[in-house]
Amino acid sequence: MRYAGQFHDIEVPAPRPLDRDAAGIIRARFASEYDRLYGGTLPDYPIQALNWRVLVAGPAPDVDVRGSLATQPSLAAAQKPSRPMFVPDAGVVEAPVYERYLVPEGSTLQGPAILEEAEATTVLWPGDRLTVDQQRNLVIQVDARGAVPAAMRTSAAAPGEGE
């Protein structure tokens, strides 16, 4: 909920049952939460409710996502051109880049490396070890002590360059 014209909203619990009296209760709860967060209310301003969140429970289906991705023969097919990556204490290293959805089940990778997908980017720091499990989850063993192999270090570039 928010005052009409604002950009951000806050969550207010709705009463049960959601009957005729609920509007007044919601309004009062909004005012109280708004005052707690923001140090005052605006009584003359109209209020908007943008989203109604409902929690619904049902029997959990048995989902198997393994078949939803095309199987790929090799890790090599998942590899994309490498790119520079800034590692604190090590500087800029040239990190291999993989297309996440093409990395086959059972693959293992050693950081530094980058896995790209449409929704997110996963960064493996030096020393991190990645295994792709049967559901194609990325399971990472984090090891902050890992060092960057000398061959991956580049001296030509510095942080922030080129962006």
Partner: protein, 557 residues
């Protein structure tokens, strides 16, 4: 007895104060009604001790607002001596000579009391979406035309709103519901800060903030003095030529370093301008000047009053950098935004690793009118220019420097105005060549969405037209700014800002921000960086990027 702070406790307490100010910042951001505050983030929050000395501010605050707020508090104290204030008072002013240089920027300050004693102050300055006055700023001759002047006043007295003042403000601004909502966001933010400050003091059993304030200010001052001492004594000079009322004018900058004190003297700055609001008040000019110095000298130290004690700024009274009342000042960014670049340029020979080349200045575009339902809108969208190159790296594209404003999302602007943003794109080859090139400027294109004949008044303020800014240490200038109007009626031909009325879908405005200037000799640019720029489409083989030409065709393929 002077309490001794161990370094760990001090760091925790100092960070807590910064965090309180950050919570104030978030409060305004989340409760504002205008795009200029709620999305473009054109505001800043600060905590001050009871002596009006700043202690901490949100890292996301507008630098110039943090630097001018202490001066505004001093003026408020002059009008309302601290011993006459009471718990629940809220003070305001938008006086450009003590505040942030034009009437849009309103300071809202709340004194915080602990057991009846003034503990400190919580305050903010925010750029209101409107403050009345003419929309045709380029033709304003005096401040009286620029809007509602609010000298130091009490908005609240002991917790009670002054309804007369509120009614007076609301009657004098466009979209009063929006403007008043934003002012209440500032009031609420101070309230949140006051609560947190008192909780903090209770937690540490502090009866006064002063010992802690003294310690953080002392350390910050010492860091600044160390940084100044590391610069060889001397006078470092530069000049920046800018356009003013269609004429080129020169801002001469002298940075004088003597031991652990530094003075910037703008002696020789041109007289204040009779029209167009291009004049900077001392408060505003000094803020831009010391902001650049702070960035150069102690970039890693959180800023507070101590930081600025060794820094001094002078400019001739009655000049464009220290104008006298009642000069018009509304568009003072057209002049003041060049103070920082002049300081960078002056110090480039002696501190080449600390400076950045000229950054293409942001363009602000605002749309005002009534939609088909009769609702008023008054929304801003800002576009940054390319950042200047520097010793360690290229400039970023589309940066709002020297402000910390945010890019207003196109979707948000389109939802609130009857305009279509047809393009918002980086301009290829716009970064100035250099060992490290300038960042890219951007192009924005606005079109009236509906063929209903309803007018949308757009004010577009491009900075730095016809004033190419050469880079530093051999870097080249970036691409300049551009403003193109198709079909629509242009009401201002002064060349300072454009007031354009869009009525039909074939009325179109295109704005281009400047690219950043380069740093260092373009011939020294690493081949790998040129290849990457080509790959990313930031430069073209055929285009104007000098570095590409210099490096020959084998790199272009």
């Amino acid at each position: 007895v002077t309490p001794v702070f161990d370094p760990i406790s001090l760091e925790i307490m100092w960070s807590r104060l910064i965090n309180i100010s950050e919570e104030c910042w978030v409060t305004i951001w989340r409760t504002a009604f205008s795009t200029i505050i709620g999305e473009a983030q054109d505001f800043g929050c600060e905590l001050l001790d009871a002596r009006a000395q700043s202690i901490a501010h949100s890292p996301r605050s507008m630098p110039v607002f943090n630097l001018t707020l202490p001066r505004a508090v001093e003026a408020l104290f002059k009008a309302f001596p601290p011993e006459t204030l009471a718990d629940g008072d809220v003070l305001i002013t938008n006086d450009p000579w003590v505040c942030a240089g034009h009437l849009f920027d309103l300071a809202v300050v709340t004194p915080v009391y602990r057991r009846g004693v003034l503990a400190g102050l919580v305050g903010s300055i925010a750029h209101l979406s409107d403050i009345g006055g003419t929309k045709d700023s380029a033709h304003a001759r005096e401040i009286y035309e620029e809007g509602l002047q609010l000298p130091p006043l009490k908005l609240y007295e002991a917790g009670r709103l002054h309804d007369d003042l509120a009614a007076m403000i609301r009657a004098n601004v466009r979209n009063p519901q929006m403007v008043w909502g934003d002012i209440l966001a500032q009031v609420g933010s101070n309230q949140v800060g006051a609560r947190r400050l008192l909780e903090f003091m209770d937690e540490y059993g502090m009866t006064s903030l002063e010992p802690l304030a003294d310690e953080v200010q002392r350390r910050t001052e010492a860091a600044m003095r160390d940084a100044i001492r590391a610069v060889p004594d001397g006078i470092y000079r530069s000049q920046v030529q800018i356009e003013s009322l269609g004429e080129p004018i020169t801002l001469p900058c002298a940075v004088m370093v003597e031991g652990d004190e530094l003075t910037v003297d703008w002696e020789g700055a041109p007289r204040q301008q009779p029209m167009g609001g291009l004049n900077c008040t001392y408060s505003y000019m000094a803020a831009h000047t010391v902001y650049a110095l702070k960035s150069i000298l102690t970039p890693d130290v959180p800023s507070n009053a101590g930081c600025f004690r060794p820094l001094h700024v002078r400019a001739p009274e009655g000049s464009i950098l220290n104008c006298s009342y009642p000069a018009a000042v509304n568009q003072r960014t057209m002049t003041g935004w060049f103070c920082g670049p002049a300081v960078f340029r002056a110090l480039a020979p002696v501190l080449p690793d600390r400076v950045q080349a000229f950054t293409g200045l942001p363009v602000s575009a605002s749309a005002y009118g009534r939609d088909a339902q009769g609702r008023f809108f008054n929304d801003h969208i800002m576009g940054g220019g390319g950042q200047g190159g520097a010793a360690p790296c290229d400039g970023n594209p589309a940066l709002m420097y020297p402000t910390s404003a945010g890019n207003v999302p196109v979707e948000m602007f389109e939802q609130r105005t009857p305009l279509l943003v047809e393009r918002k794109e980086l301009i290829t080859d716009s970064g100035g060549a250099g060992m490290h090139r300038g960042g890219l400027g951007q192009r924005m294109r606005f079109r009236k969405l509906y063929d209903d004949g309803l007018p949308v008044l757009m004010q577009v303020v491009p900075h730095g037209q016809a004033t190419p800014m050469v880079g530093l240490q051999g870097g080249r200038e970036g691409r300049g700014v551009g403003l193109y109007v198709e079909g629509a009626q242009v009401s201002d031909q002064s060349g300072i800002s454009q007031l354009v009325t869009l009525r039909r879908p074939d009325d179109v405005i295109t704005v281009e921000t400047a690219g950043g200037s380069g740093f260092g000799d373009p011939a020294a640019r690493a081949a790998a960086l040129i290849r990457r720029d080509l790959q990313d489409g930031y430069i073209t083989g055929r285009g104007g990027a000098e570095a590409t030409r210099r490096h020959g065709p084998e790199l272009i393929r």
